[in-house]
Amino acid sequence: MVSKTEETQLSNLETQVDNGGGGAWEYLCLVRKLKVRRSDRVLKHGLSILNDLKKRSSLGPDEWTLYEQVAVAAMDCQSLEVAKDCIKVLRKKFPESKRVGRLEGMLLEAKGAWAEAEKAYSSLLEDNPLDQVIHKRRVAMAKGQGNVSVAIEWLNKYLEIFMADHDAWRELAEIYVSLQMYKQAAFCYEELILSQPMVPLYHLAYADVLYTLGGLENLQNAKKYYASTIDLTGGKNTRALFGVCLCSSAIGQIAKGRNKDDKESPELQSLAATALEREYKQKASDKLSLLTAALKGLKVSS
């Protein structure tokens, strides 16, 4: 999870490193810690450290972690020569390692040699049938080939064994959303909210899915989850604020023809609209007129 402070720290460090201000190793450590995907920069700065003998030897045992990081980044950037060299160095150092075997499989994947990669992974799985990362690689391989239904099948099988793996749940949810299978995606997001209730982004994604599904009940639930996102972020999530406005407007349209006994209090949406207006005034005052027009169209601003 990337918090606000860490994000600012990362972007500061990024500009510093890009402008040649040093701190490349700290940047690479932060990228690894936050698990963000900055493959081009990792490749560039990682290689500059690895090619500098003095810098490389000062890392000590972290050198091998850096080789692995650069190898994966190189595969992501399609610099297969670099990836191959890195893996060769690692193989020389750790001849029996499974982790290096996994990297070799990933290199085959990056080359597009799917059958060989599959063979490599299954031989690794024979040694250790409960290797989670290799199971995940197989899912990713199916996705990379475009067989999304196969990927879903693998992922469901995987989740039957490793139910607590929230990364896999997230991946499954995202695949379902990409296939517009919103009911299934909603189930996955429910799992995610159960396992990590304090992450506002899962609440937000669940609310998005519910809003897309439509229907009065789903819309009301979506509004609740947008509200909980606002609660968890202290009102600093613009998407959730917009979500509350859209939900209330949609609920208002559906409930127009029906009985008006259970009409909800209009406070929430007018508060959200006020918060949005304030934020736009602070950060993008030239777009404030657009916002007020849009909110008027939704009939939520007071």
Partner: protein
Amino acid sequence: MNNIALGLVPSCSVMRPKNRSSLIVVLVTRYTSGTPMIGWRSVQPSSEPIPELFPAGDRKRVSVEMALGFAVGVFGVLILFHAAYSTIQYRGLLKIMEEEFSGPPMNVVAELLLGLVLCIWAALTVPGKFLSIQPHSEENRIVSLPANSDFMIFNHRGKVFPLEMDVKLKH
């Protein structure tokens, strides 16, 4: 005397502040002829991989604050000891004067309260800065999820535009 004092107070203690700054402050407390001597030395670890959360100026301020807090804490404990000593003395005096013990004298109570306040203040400053527990504070507010790197695929649009890198891995 020296040995007892050394037994009571560790001669050297390494403290690690809770905040993730890479500073380690080594407190060296030496007892020479009964009077406490506190020496300060700040040691920078050689190559900490942890990225710094605070810039250098901030760290310096934190260490100064900690030094002050520690000194105040020592002072507070000394005051508490003095209060205990005064109470014992007062009871001895009462025994000589053959009076009943009704309560501690005013100066002891004042000393106790002062010592309590100073010790609390030191205990709150010395271990480091407090971290926020509110979910919407800047440190805790999650703004983006990590890339799901276990499911990373290489068959993406970046393949069509490969990065122009002429650097190779040298050995």
